[in-house]
Symmetry: C2
Subunit: 318 residues, 2 copies
């Protein structure tokens, strides 16, 4: 399926902010003396786990949906996803009062199917191969005329995700660094675009599981190297880096670092216990990068984007 691959510019992020601010939560920024003592830096957590649908994905999805013309919107939106993007798209479509069509594999966890349906989306099941997902999505789009909204290879999505960094730099203009996890790259690229446009000397770092290090390798080599069936607990980061995000990441991101699985689980539990908030494994990745010293934060003001908090409480990794 074709998507809108023209890279967004900073103006798009500012427009996204105008467009979505009445629909999203302005999430709080929390900090912890214990984390600061442990790391030697001043660490600020931008809490997108308290965003609507429990994840930053609602920013991009809202921006995409509220960017549509009335004619486009009337036909609805479609995507294939079993994760937070599907829930985000479903809720944003509901707020605009338009249909959302979500293609999901037959073996998707029931709890995720239920969540997407609860937000009012129409779910079409398919076999659990990428081919089946794409061909089913094509059929749905052909039948309905809905607009396909890719989870990250889309300028509207990237611009929407960048709005978290706008809020961060309003709340803390003196930040030295922002660290975000990288999967498809929508958040990292939007964050880097926004942050560097506001403050050119800020550092923007991506953090990735060592077991799904395609962004790290692509960044090193200067060309996209897709990942194959990565085995990581950070399920939001198993996807391969997208073409559009990569073009922005090459331009604006300073470094990408990787962390092992044990460090991710340890950092996740640390935040649950010491900060009393529920974070997904995916956003424990940048926390682990800081705890493991993969990023030098000593004496610096550093924000970490906490991307989401959707976990299965009956299946915790400890």
């Amino acid at each position: 399926m074709k998507t809108n691959l023209t890279p967004p510019v900073f103006e798009d992020v500012k427009e996204a902010r105008q467009r979505i601010s009445e629909h999203i939560h302005r999430t709080p920024v929390l900090n912890s003396k214990q984390v600061n003592q442990k790391t030697g830096g001043q660490i600020f957590f931008k809490c997108e786990n308290f965003q609507k649908v429990g994840a930053f994905k609602f920013r991009g999805a809202s921006n995409a949906i509220f960017s549509l013309s009335d004619d486009e919107a009337a036909k609805g939106v479609a995507t294939h996803s079993s994760g937070n993007h599907a829930q985000a798209l479903a809720l944003a479509a509901k707020l605009r009062g338009i249909p959302a069509y979500v293609v999901m594999p037959e073996n998707a966890p029931k709890v995720k199917v239920k969540a997407v349906k609860n937000y009012g989306a129409e779910v079409t099941f398919c076999e659990s191969t990428l081919e089946a997902r794409e061909s089913t999505l094509e059929k749905v789009v052909a039948q309905t005329g809905a607009t396909f909204i890719h989870p990250y290879d889309d300028a509207r999505i990237v611009a929407g995700q960048g709005t978290a960094a706008l809020e961060l730099l309003e709340d803390h203009p003196d930040l030295d660094m922002i660290i975000a996890p990288v999967g498809g790259g929508g958040l990292l690229s939007g964050t880097a675009l926004a942050a560097k446009s506001i403050k050119p000397d800020i550092q923007v770092i991506g953090a990735e599981p060592a077991n799904a290090d395609d962004a790290f390798r692509s960044f090193q080599k200067g060309e996209l190297i897709p990942v194959k069936n990565p085995d990581t607990i950070a399920d939001g980061l198993r996807t391969s880096l997208g073409e559009l995000p990569f073009s922005l990441i090459r331009k604006y991101v300073d470094d990408i670092v990787t962390v092992p699985e044990e460090s991710i689980i340890e950092a996740m539990r640390y935040v649950w216990e010491r900060m009393n908030m529920i974070i997904e494994a995916s956003c424990a990745v940048p926390v682990a990068a800081v705890f493991d010293g993969k990023v030098d934060v000593k004496g610096k003001k550093v924000a970490i984007i906490i991307t989401g908090g959707n976990v299965d409480l009956d299946n915790l990794p400890w």
Copy 2:
């Protein structure tokens, strides 16, 4: 041990606020569309689970410790507690640079002993009877000259706990109601004193486990009826209502309601799953009261004070 039983007035809450604001977190107020839809009200969660030491108790403890004269302070502070008050007192004492002496039963959970020691307090163990705790505390006070800071039967503590309501009514001046859990009564009484002084027509409601309903019964009868070995998961609310808080609660609180254990566990899990934050069973009590319809919130703006988030992740009630 004697404590300061003269009830605080509103001026004391305002002074407490001045005294402690540089030491505490101004905690965020979060809301959830799902909770609003479920209840028919607009529910605001004052997140003291993100307060230092993970609980509102840090407000009262800081106020008590920073109220001491330099001569008093030099000799330190003492208490008997195995809960959040001990940690709060230990950290506040550390910030003032004075000793904290905490008497704990020999069978206190190791994780709680460790937490109190980590904040720099000196722990004295005793047998796990109320008698042993009081006599041991008397000895510690006699030996050190430390000031005893009761966890709730103390005007400085009550005034400090009332500062959460000050912040709440600054952020949301149009609240119709505030609901707080009630154990010893420090939080509920401080909240009621502050809220009714600012806005006389606001409703202030206490919520209590049905299995530890001494505040409910005392409030109904108009005299203190202590609780005996209550069996409730809400461990922060097992203590009996204190004399000083009760005097303020009779004057300022509109109602006290009770909820069964199953509702407490269900409400706790609901908040974990839908709001991605970790809350103790104790502060699931007012949430349960709203979910069970024990308090009528339809069409109203209602704040719930989320008192803390210190739970054992290896011992969850589901």
